[in-house]
């Protein structure tokens, strides 16, 4: 299942906050609401995990995750599902999908125009 990406947005100063919090990190407002945002972003770094403390991943190793800076601001840790080798600065698109553990989490895919 694929959902649109949502992030907490501050109603007072328009800052996008991630990870989710109770108070805006910029203006300390508590008026934070989930807003649909574009999943477009850029891959800043990545790793292939060969060990994990999370039992769900034990049978799935190695497992690729990355750091993606979304166009709307925040940098997120995300599952990485690319059709090609990762490259620094590669444009990616992030969506929310159900993962192997049954959780709705970020999944980054290559953008169509960049897939080889």
């Amino acid at each position: 299942m694929v959902d649109k990406l949502t992030l907490q947005k501050c109603a007072d100063c328009a800052t996008f906050n991630y990870p989710p919090r109770e108070v805006c990190k910029h203006c300390l407002s508590v008026e934070l609401t989930e807003k649909n945002v574009s999943g477009m972003g850029v891959l800043k770094s990545w790793t292939e995990l060969h060990h994990s403390f999370e039992p769900e991943f034990a049978n799935e190793l190695p497992w690729s995750i990355g750091l993606v800076t979304l166009d709307v601001g925040p940098t997120i840790i995300t599952h990485l599902l690319l059709a090609c080798d990762p490259e620094h600065g590669m444009p990616v698109e992030v969506s929310i999908e159900t993962d192997i553990a049954g959780r709705n989490t970020f999944h980054a895919h290559g953008r169509k125009e960049t897939q080889k």
Partner: protein, 388 residues
Amino acid sequence: MNYNGVAITCPTTVTYQRSSEKGAQYFFGQALRGLLKRSGLIKSDIDGLCLSSFTLAPDTGISVADHLGLELSWLEELRLGGASGVISMKRAARAIQNGDADIVACIGAETNNPGSFSDLVSNFSRFSNDAAHPYGAAGPNAVFAMTTRAYMEEYGTTAEDFGRLCLTQRLNSHHNPNALMKDKPLSMQQYLNARTVADPLRLFDCVMPCAGAEAFLVMSTERAHSLELPYSTIASAKELHNPVSDEAVPMSGGWSRFGSQLYQEASYGPSDMNFLQSYDDYPVIVFHQFEDLGFCEKGKASEFVRNTDLSVDSDTLAHNSSGGQLSCGQAGFAGGFLTVTEALRQQQGCTLGKQIKHTDRGVVSGFGMVNYDRGLCSAAAILEKGTH
């Protein structure tokens, strides 16, 4: 404000063990015994305590005072990860200057057993629980793997460059009976062929969690003189938490923000330093410290490691002369005290391993607390050998 009149003394280590069935209180107790033995003081002389431990829960600082039978006029518990050691020294020094305590024991103590480390990393912080664990990234390896990758991409650093650092520290550790890896030689081939933990991190880029303790005493220089204890003094000390940064991946630590001020306040420069005891949870963080603390330019740490003798026999800059955490093991928060105790041992002539050649002054640094995607606490101090 300077740190004049304060002595840091009696470096004490409780032997590291890969694992232990004892609780953290056991290691606090052993550390305090060691401090009393080395100083010739009795327990009632200790009226200040600054402590750090991951594995103390459900106990807290006051529980340690109760457990060890200490009556205290000053008590502080630091949960600042690998920055706790340097910062405990700094805080204790202020307590001495302010007259809040006469003798402060600074102790980082930790137990380790199967499960204690995974329990710890599985519930470390709210942001980690919400935004790192669901990606399989509990514990620091994944985050530091991505920090390492970004550094390599930016500056063209190779695995061999990090390997050189690890190999030199391993050689240093062969002299240190407390280093868990002291009898395990490491070749570049072994380093490169070791199993991948979180690419690009291999096994020997990661520290081995263990049990143990590191401790020292902080008192006035007058008291140290009257007790005839060798001591070190603080020429300057700085800490910075949660530096505001727009870097998606950190290319430096908080040291980059206070490094020049650290030297300015001590009236020294990096080239005046005889040693650096850096916080080596991962090689890339040591590279950050080489750069941020002025030993080389930003992005030039690989070159620096290639061209500089960083061994215990160095004439220029002895680095992590104990072997560091990469070869000694990481006794939790005590890992952040190791840099301090090793510097004190070298300056006070009571080394566990090899005595380095020059000890007039050097830098100790600390780093800790990955709340989400990076370490947030940085600290450093310049220590000078005390004069009698």
